[in-house]
């Protein structure tokens, strides 16, 4: 899925734009240790952890797109780090459950 597709599926707002960002699957979690342990490579991360540490973990698991749920505000240091590391951030009013369901309707991208 492309960033554009993700944004449309969750009815969201692109807060950090990385136009070429893509994902081949999705993973929902707010516990960063859990993301590191179980996320598929290159997944969309669905979370409410609007925290700088989230970006670090994304780089470790190859996540290029984060969907932040419940329209949580993205702090400036998180946005800067995301831009630097090439991780796109989309905020959505949806819950993690609804966002997961929304993304499941998208076809995965062949890399």
């Amino acid at each position: 899925m492309t960033l554009e597709e993700v944004k449309n599926a969750v009815g969201g707002n692109v807060v950090v734009d990385v136009p070429e960002a893509q994902a081949s699957c999705a993973y929902a979690s707010d516990l960063l240790s859990d993301v590191m342990g179980h996320s598929g490579e290159g997944a969309v991360l669905i979370t409410i952890q609007n925290h700088l540490n989230t970006i670090a973990v994304c780089t470790l698991v190859g996540t290029e797109i984060i969907v932040v749920c419940h329209n949580r505000e993205i702090p400036p240091d998180m946005a800067e780090a995301a831009k630097r590391e090439g991780v796109a951030i989309v905020t959505t009013p949806l819950s993690q459950f609804a966002a997961s369901v929304a993304l499941s309707s998208l076809p995965p991208v062949e890399r």
């Binding site: 929902a28 707010d30 859990d34 409410i48 419940h70 459950f97 997961s100």
Partner: protein
């Protein structure tokens, strides 16, 4: 959809609490941050979480949840099982990820509506 149905839908296993409870899923909340769960204004919540701790159960009790599912077949501590039994909260372990579980539950709930 009762907790027994949830166990089936998520290839899960009931680890504590009453699996025969007649309460049905009112809303699905997939969240690991307990303070966020406290904000939810729904009844009969099914809590999906990766947080395998007593706190998940205690938070579920506070919001009157009808059950808790812990993902990725994470091992559950003895105290967590005990707290779930004490507070009468059905606790299910599922090998699925939270994302996959959300999708499966959504499909099952939709199927119910159509039936």
């Amino acid at each position: 959809m009762t907790i027994a149905d949830v166990v089936v839908a998520l290839n899960g296993k009931l680890m504590a609490g009453d699996g025969t409870s007649p309460r049905v899923v009112g809303a699905v909340v997939a969240n690991d941050l307990m303070s966020d769960v406290l904000l939810v204004d729904a009844d009969d919540i099914l809590l999906l979480t990766s947080l395998a701790s007593d706190q998940a159960i205690r938070t579920a009790h506070i919001v009157g949840a009808m059950g808790v599912v812990v993902h990725n077949a994470k091992p559950l501590s003895e105290t967590m099982l005990k707290v779930a039994d004490d507070l009468h909260i059905p606790l299910v372990s599922s090998p699925l990820s939270k994302y996959d579980a959300c999708v499966k539950l959504h499909d099952a709930l939709e199927a119910e509506k159509r039936a």
